[in-house]
Every structure is written in C-alpha cells, then in structure tokens.
Amino acid sequence: MIEVGRVCMKTAGREAGKFCVILDVMEDGYVLVTGPKAATTVKRRKCSLHHVEPTPETVKIKKNATDDEVLAAYKQAGLFSKFGTKEPTAKDVEKAKDAERKRATKAKEEKAKPKAEKKEDKPEEKKAEPKKEEIKKEEKPKPKAEKKEKPKAEKKPAKSAAKKTTKKAKK
C-alpha cells in the first residue's frame, strides 16, 4: 500500500486527520510527506510510518516532486472535492511558500549565530558565581567556629562539674 503517490491520512500530532501524499519511502520506516501546506495544512516533512494511514486514492507523481506538481496532480485526479476542501488560490500558495522561506532563513541564522554566543556567555557566568560563593564561605564559617568553640569549652566543664557534685552529694 505504501508507495510514491499514495494519498494518506495523518493520525498523530497537530496534523492528525489531515490528508497528505507520500513523496519518498526511506529506510528505517520513515516517509517524506506533503499536504501541500496550502491545500491541507500538512507541512513538507519526514514522517514515521506509524503516524500515517493509507487511503485507496493515488496520484501520479515523480519521486521527490515539488508542491506545485502535487497541486496540479490533485486537480487532475479531482481530489479536492473528495477531501471536502476548496482549491487553494494563488495567494494561499504564495503565503505558504513565503512562510517556509522565512522559516528556512531563521533556522540558518539561528544555527550560525547563537551557538558561538552561548559558548562565550556560559563560562563567564559559571566563573562569576563560584567566586561569590567562595567569598561567602570564607566569611561565614569563621565566626561560627569561634562561637562553637567558646560555649563548648565553657559549658562542658560546668556540666561535668555539676554532675560530679550531685554524684558526690548522693554518695
């Protein structure tokens, strides 16, 4: 059932219940899929076979066909009426294309820039924090140690002396 040009329904995720077409069958149980986005809101993406349910419909498409070719194939097969959706206008197609371009450019910029910045930022913060802790640690324990030493020295002999006196008195 699963081949290039088979129309499928997605069964998992935000695109569950929407239709798509298989463009390529990869190894390890994965599939390349598009709605296209202008027609059925399914992005062009890699998808697991567990998340796809085949339908009896097929479309004549080459392997790795573009979204425009898929739309033309839909028109020939008359699938829009079967899906219960309208044909996407030229504006819708352009919108979808622009959105994909913007995403691609953003992803490229993010890949290039922030990694270098993050590496520089993180070690500085780490260096700055431990210094404060070290200073605090150095300041705090000294007075505590002094306080602890003094009362212990005073109390212990007093208690022991008191005990001794009571014991002696009992005897």
Binding site: M9, T11, A12, G13, A16, G17, E53, T55, P56
Partner: protein, 93 residues
C-alpha cells in the same frame, strides 16, 4: 466561626495547631480532579490540575496538547479514532 462564604462542603478543612496549643481550622478550596480521557478513562498528560481562576491566567497552549481532541482524548485513542474515521470515509466509494 468561618465567614459565610466558607460555610460549604466545597471547602477543605485543615486542622492547624497554633503556637499557643489551640487547634484551629483553616479553610481552603478543594483541588479539582485530574482530567481523564473520555474513552479509556486514563489520566491525561499535558492538562494542568488547577482551579478555573488559575487556568484563566494560562495561555491556550499551556492548557491542552495542540492536536484534534486535545484535552479530551488521550493520544492512542485519537489515533484509533482517526484510523476508524479514515476507514469509514472510503467504505462507500
């Protein structure tokens, strides 16, 4: 005495011993139940367990998973439902 608004069973009563040794009752709203799947009755993940006033402050994406039947059916049940829908759709053709 509690305030009139607190004199209902929808309030939880916590017994608290004060530093003076007295036992006082503190009133607090009961926690709402866990959201469950409408089909298999298993607890849903991704749906917060909060009072409606607190739920109002959250964003839409923080209240339920972003998928059809999100917040009412669990993910395996939605998958089964989609599969059955697909089968029904093409039976008559």
């Amino acid at each position: 005495m509690p305030t009139p608004a607190q004199r209902t069973r929808s309030f939880r009563k916590d017994r608290v011993t004060t530093p003076g040794g007295k036992v006082k009752i503190h009133y607090s709203k009961k926690q709402p139940g866990i959201a469950k799947c409408g089909n298999c009755k298993k607890p849903l993940s991704g749906v917060p367990r909060k009072l409606p006033t607190e739920l109002k402050k959250l964003k839409k994406t923080q209240k339920r998973p972003d998928r059809p039947y999100g917040g009412t059916l669990c993910s395996p049940c939605t998958k089964a439902k989609m599969k059955s829908k697909n089968m029904e759709r093409w039976e008559n053709d």
